[in-house]
Symmetry: C2
Subunit: 157 residues, 2 copies
């Protein structure tokens, strides 16, 4: 793969987008998050071309985000989220919340989300300090870390 890859940027977000930034990848992962596991489930739900779906699933398996399994007995293939894949839930839910807010479906939300244990609804995704206060938009301060060559300073939004 030569066209893509933001490699050479030693930046973790670019690496993240190398793993999941291709067209369809996040929608596939959303379906996985919703519990879909099979090739044809993804295909039918998303209307994605077979060859592209195949390429994406292989890529996500290579990246360690999905795991490919042969279901015993029934002998069909399953694609299951790994721990890395499940860790993308914050990305997925942030996107869904943003879309619900700024690009809403005229018929209302397709799904609603609850805590499986308590049955409580979820909070909107937000940014918190370690002591639990909400950080307001524009109030994130960005400071250089060890991975940056000394000098440049990031500014608040």
């Amino acid at each position: 793969m030569k066209y893509k890859s933001y490699k050479g940027m030693n930046c973790s977000m670019a690496q993240a987008l190398d793993a999941i930034g291709e067209r369809w990848a996040l929608l596939i992962l959303r379906e996985a998050f919703y519990g879909k596991t099979r090739f044809n489930q993804f295909r039918e739900e998303l209307g994605i071309a077979r060859n592209i779906l195949s390429a994406r699933l292989n890529h996500l398996v290579d990246e360690g985000i999905l795991e490919k399994r042969q279901a015993t007995e029934t002998a069909h293939t399953e694609y299951i989220l790994t721990e890395q894949g499940r860790a993308l839930r914050t990305v997925i839910l942030s996107l869904i919340h943003w879309g619900d807010e700024y690009r809403p479906n005229p018929n209302g939300q397709r799904y609603e989300f609850l805590d499986a244990e308590s049955g409580e609804p979820l909070r909107q995704m937000d940014i918190y300090t370690e002591s639990g206060d909400v950080v307001k938009p524009g109030m994130v301060r960005i400071i250089p870390g060890p991975g940056l060559g000394a000098g440049q300073e990031g500014q608040p939004e």
Copy 2:
């Protein structure tokens, strides 16, 4: 526009990805989040081709995610996050956190994030119930909402 656009899926996450899912878009928005505002700042920081950067900036302006301004006096152009754009901070920070965790930069993080008011570091992005409990991976329950159902199943095209 035939290649892009996940239209026809009446799903807010697909709409979100139509707005910000193209190659480079999220990296541009990250730079905007970091305080960059100018064409050449984006270009130099990201190494993106001028024509593509131009196309992306125009698209993000059309989507209402960036606002284009003529800086008074100095007469240079500025691209500023709108409220919609700032609301993508949860998406951006989720991606950065995931990348830091699973695709770390060998030299360490490029930036660290603090609450501008208290100076406190930020929590890892996570999912919370309305009463403030963390929802563990795999413990989100997804139930059908009003947008699902009646004669509209993700009919592609």
